[in-house]
Symmetry: C2
Subunit: 134 residues, 2 copies
């Protein structure tokens, strides 16, 4: 784990294992892609399976329409506002429409509407950082 | 305010005024851009001034090096995990290096290191949604 330190906070680089461990703890992350209307970043419910990110969406959403086979980024973070600390993980990869039968686990989906499309983000890189007080 | 409703949750489209109001409540958002290494999404401390997003960073960061005059997206959200609800705002715009004297307010910066570069995101679009139970 690389570390650098200036002032009262420290920014630690997370290992790949730590990144996946952190991602496994949250129900919501964000998918970013270069869309028809420009750079787009939207929150999504997700699950992690075999070091892939699984997202459920509707075929009519921008994410469902635009992204099969395209590069996307997936980002998740946990921010401790009181403690002025937190961590963030960034996954870059390819977005694929998942075929039936769908692999488990499926993420719990909070948004309304029928979200029959499962997207799988195949990572080609993952990195993360943790900000903490020393 | 447009509204649609399926199942137990409702997704409301936020007005532009509501988007700015929501952005004013948080200390951390995310900047996304198409970087040298691919799509990049990083958390940043930010402030809102005159309907612009103000970010402080270091000249040596990817954000400082790559982004003067380039399109970026800025995204912030508040997720209520217990309540399975939340809101999200997306700003698309142009990233500019701010000239001295710097405008106020300056965001409080949590990360270590000397962050002398102020970035201003000039929005050309803003949109947001709120997910809630009805």
């Amino acid at each position: 784990m690389e570390r650098w330190n200036r002032g009262s906070t420290v920014l630690d680089e997370l290992t790949e294992d730590e990144c996946w461990e952190h991602l496994g703890r949250l129900p919501v992350g964000r998918v970013a892609w270069q869309g028809e209307d420009g750079l787009t970043v939207v929150p999504v419910n997700y699950a992690v399976a075999d070091r892939r990110i699984i997202v459920r969406t509707a075929a009519y959403t921008a994410l469902g329409r635009e992204r099969d086979g395209f590069p996307v980024a997936f980002q998740a973070d946990l921010v401790d506002v009181e403690g002025r600390a937190g961590w963030s993980v960034l996954v870059r990869g390819q977005c694929r429409h998942e075929q039936w039968p769908l692999p488990t686990p499926d993420p719990e989906v909070w948004a309304p509407g029928t979200r029959v499309l499962q997207l799988r983000i195949e990572p080609h890189s993952i990195s993360g950082r943790r900000l903490r007080h020393h």
